[in-house]
């Protein structure tokens, strides 16, 4: 990572991005008290991407040496030239963004050593085993990730960015009538482990809450399948913002026929709904995945996708911005050194409203309060789905029995038209990873929503 990329500017013959990157991660896992995993992973390397007459060439190498850098620039240039000569596309040059420089500061906190990490997790595992001996199984997993990127473009942009995330995932399993019932939760988010997790004890009240939910889920019922009025907790709204709306507004998907393609300037949601893909700062605080400069060297800016129910815009890289004749938004991101930048979300959130969650639940006669999501998927049609691992039925304004794992779905823009209340309470989901050819960390946020969705069940 100490290589001076500017030394190689002379090798650029066309529009070129040169990126040196290192990804570090530490994974320590306990399964039912057994230390099944204790491993550290480091991958680093250099890549170049070159644009010529509408064609792209890309190359990467793990060698962050002069030879490695020369190899990726010449190979990427050759790949672009090969394709440009074959395809002969009539494409305009990419837009020149403002020349930008950005430099993140390195972490300052003292890092734990390997023994301290293991001891920290062991203490949590011991707490669960001692306090909840009736569990059939338990998992305690640490996943600490750090992405360091150094970027130089032929436009003159340069940036050093650092993204850290530290997560502890707790999974609890109990048996009911011989069948396992599980619940898990992820704690932590952006930042160093040492600043996010002061002591194991600080997590105990949250683990106790998780156990209480599990005990209620153990007695849970199947949701009744069909269209229901539901209150989505902020954790659920975040994934709705990402899966259901954010993906359909990625300009590459818009060009591929996404449902929003012809809807700019039109109402697509209740006027209560506003949705923003934040670059790095929201509500005066740093977002879970702050992006100041994207991997094409564009200064990242907030992008309003929906303003009071009206569809306002899409997420862009330089090439799609050129196509739509708008400025690039800074959404071109790559996960590993060997990945090319794709149009990706950063911190996508529905903005908070004026209602109180408690009163929203009290106003629901018959429906569900859905609290924790699992995985989700989106579609060009705006049809979304995501798993629900924790939820309760609501009858006459009161929480009732827990429900078993289920899935909700709907057409995003129909669901958003049914939004009747939005809470003041807002929460970021900071452990999210989005998969679109490559994985990438994303932030998902939102308030609680009252709306109608399809729920899977019996």
């Amino acid at each position: 990572m100490n290589i001076d990329l500017s030394t190689y500017k002379g090798l650029f013959t066309d529009y070129t991005e040169l990126r040196c990157q290192e990804n570090n991660s530490l994974v320590i896992g306990f399964l039912k008290g057994n230390n099944t995993t204790n491993t550290r992973l480091t991958t680093s390397g250099v890549s170049a991407r070159v644009y010529k007459d509408g064609a792209w060439g890309f190359a990467s190498s793990p060698e962050t040496t002069a030879d490695g850098v020369k190899f990726v620039i010449t190979t990427a240039t050759h790949n672009a030239a090969f394709l440009a000569a074959k395809e002969r596309q009539d494409a305009p040059p990419l837009p020149h963004g403002e020349v930008t420089t950005h430099h993140d500061s390195p972490p300052t906190s003292q890092q734990l050593n390997p023994e301290q990490f293991v001891a920290f997790l062991q203490e949590i595992d011991h707490y669960i085993a001692t306090n909840y001996p009736g569990l059939a199984s338990r998992t305690v997993t640490l996943n600490r990730t750090e992405l360091k990127k150094n970027l130089l473009t032929s436009d003159g942009a340069s940036a050093f960015s650092l993204l850290s995330r530290s997560l502890i995932q707790i999974g609890l399993t109990v048996e009911q009538d011989g069948a396992p019932v599980s619940l898990h939760e992820v704690f932590g988010g952006r930042g160093q482990f040492e600043t996010l997790f002061s002591t194991p004890e600080a997590l105990y009240p949250k683990i106790d809450q998780l156990y209480e939910h599990l005990m209620r889920k153990r007695e849970g019922i199947y949701a009744a399948a069909g269209l229901k009025t539901c209150i989505l907790a902020p954790e659920m709204t975040g994934i709705l913002a990402h899966e259901a709306i954010g993906h359909t507004c990625e300009a590459d998907l818009v060009l591929g026929g996404s449902a929003v393609g012809t809807k700019r300037g039109q109402p697509v949601a209740s006027p209560l709904v506003s949705l923003v893909d934040f670059a790095h700062t929201a509500f005066g605080e740093t977002c879970p995945v702050p992006i100041f400069v994207d991997d094409e060297g564009t200064t990242a800016r907030d992008t309003v996708l929906i303003d009071q129910g009206i569809l306002k815009g899409f997420l862009h890289n330089k090439e799609s911005a050129c196509h739509f004749q708008v400025p690039p938004t800074g959404n071109a991101r790559a996960y590993r050194f060997s990945d090319e930048p794709l149009i990706r979300m950063r911190n996508t959130a529905i903005l908070p409203g004026k209602d109180r969650l408690e009163e929203m639940i009290a106003s629901l006669d018959d429906g569900y309060y859905l609290m924790r999501p699992s995985n989700g998927q989106a579609d060009a049609t705006s049809e979304f789905m995501f798993g629900v691992t924790l939820g309760y039925e609501v009858k006459d304004g009161k929480l009732g029995r827990a429900i078993k794992d289920t899935t909700i779905s709907g057409l995003a823009f129909q669901v958003l038209q049914t939004v009747s209340e939005i809470s003041q309470e807002f929460k970021w989901l900071s452990g999210g990873m989005c998969g679109k050819k490559q994985l990438i960390p994303v932030g998902l946020g939102g308030p609680a929503l009252k709306c109608q969705v399809m729920i899977g069940g019996r």
């Binding site: 990467s60 090969f82 069948a179 579609d379 049809e383």
Partner: protein, 430 residues
């Protein structure tokens, strides 16, 4: 120093640093990839990577490290760090490395890509799709050639070299009708060479033809318990989910597997025979060694509905006292049935042709629910119309127990060989 010599050197360094048992694995890969975006060839990628994985065991404590700096100077700090990680771990007598097996070199596939042929195949594919399936939008597609060499050595004398090369093609597409678009769908396949036109491989032609028909999708009629014909594209995911919650390390070590005591017992319909065949000539991709360092073998998993093996790693086997699996799973081959798909379809009173399932991860007890994507409503033995906004729910174990028929036809994905299966008792709600 060659990569093999470097790997041997790394193993020696671990032993000299005090590892009682040690393992060193170097993998080098080189990929050439052509990318289509919205129907146009947009990008060529060349990626070179290599990584070194070191594992050390000391006093029953295990640590490992993976890095992609594999020059000699990087080894000393890596060895020091992996020993520190091992020392920090909690002891567990179940950790071990593979037992001695005679040294062996495995080779499969081509060594270098034919870039011009790759280009010709991709161009021919886009032209054929445009001509034969005019409603199809190729959102993205990529054809890659990957060559990988792995050196696997451990302190018990295991010394394997694996050379593998081949082409992988994957596409994501939708169908356009006026201003509206169908759901995305995706499929792909692996092949050792580019002898055939891409469109003739895997399930491409079938799926593109279905999507191109342009009939407006509708919801399934209300809520009912119905039948499903699960297509080969959809089946692989269901198989991975079923085996993941029943016969893999996690649930068996935790003691929560619904199949914990079901070895050699009926766990699925007698219509189902499933094998994992990583070294079969029927599987073009596959693998030669397990992640533990054992030479992989083919194995039946479910034979006429009877569970024949757990998919336990060496650690999982030591932990549970059960037998280690002879492979890592995957590379699925399902034995064909005796009815053509068309005959099976005629027997469906009310249900779905399930092309893709978009759902939450199944519960540990097998419960699943999600959206039936790119699927079709079937009534009175005939496909009626494509579906939208239709959910299905059921239990994976019950689903595989309810299989009433398996098709004669199978799709060869290169990485799996799968038929259509006809199962019953799924809640369908539109």
């Amino acid at each position: 120093m060659s990569l093999k010599e470097l790997n041997t050197y790394a193993l020696q360094a671990l032993e000299e640093a005090g590892a009682e048992k040690a393992e060193a694995v170097i993998t080098r890969s080189e990929k050439t990839e052509m990318n289509l975006e919205n129907g146009a060839l947009k990008l060529i990628r060349t990626t070179v990577d290599h990584h070194l994985r070191l594992t050390a065991l000391q006093d029953q404590r295990q640590g490992s490290i993976l890095l992609n700096k594999i020059h000699r100077q990087a080894l000393a700090p890596a060895v020091k760090e992996v020993m520190a990680i091992a020392a920090s771990s909690a002891p567990d007598p179940a950790h071990d490395i593979a037992a001695y097996q005679p040294p062996k070199i495995f080779s499969k596939g081509e060594t270098t890509p034919d870039l011009d042929l790759m280009y010709q195949r991709v161009k021919a594919f886009t032209q054929q799709v445009a001509a034969d399936f005019p409603r199809i939008v190729l959102l993205n597609a990529h054809l890659d050639f990957t060559r990988q060499t792995t050196f696997f050595q451990n302190s018990n004398g295991v010394d394997f070299t694996v050379n593998q090369g081949g082409y992988r093609f994957a596409i994501t597409f939708s169908a356009q009708e006026g201003d509206s678009s169908s759901s995305f769908n995706n499929t792909g396949f692996f092949t050792l060479n580019l002898d055939q036109a891409l469109l003739n491989c895997g399930s491409l032609r079938i799926l593109l033809d279905q999507a191109n028909q342009g009939q407006a999708p509708r919801k399934a009629p209300g809520k009912f318990i119905g039948d499903v014909i699960i297509t080969p594209d959809c089946l692989e995911g269901f198989l991975h989910s079923l085996l993941g919650i029943t016969i893999s390390d996690g649930p068996l070590i935790a003691g929560t597997s619904p199949f914990q005591h079901k070895l050699n017992q009926l766990v699925a319909s007698p219509c189902l025979t499933l094998a994992s065949c990583p070294v079969s000539p029927e599987i073009s991709s596959g693998y030669f060694i397990t992640s533990d360092g054992y030479e992989a073998q083919n194995t039946p998993i479910i034979e006429n509905g009877v569970l024949k093996t757990f998919l336990l790693s060496q650690y999982g086997a030591n932990k549970t006292g059960l037998t280690r699996a002879v492979n890592d799973g995957g590379a699925f081959v399902v034995t064909p049935g005796d009815q053509p798909l068309a005959e099976i379809l005629k027997g469906v009173k009310k249900g779905l042709l399930l092309n893709r399932f978009s759902g939450g991860a199944p519960s540990p007890n097998g419960d699943f629910s999600g959206v039936a994507k790119n699927s079709f409503y079937i009534e009175d033995g005939a496909i009626q119309y494509p579906l939208s906004e239709t959910m299905i729910a059921g239990n994976l174990i019950a689903l595989f127990q309810s299989i009433a028929a398996v098709s004669q036809e199978r799709i060869d994905f290169g990485s799996a060989l799968l038929p259509w299966i006809y199962a019953q008792g799924v809640t369908i709600s539109g």
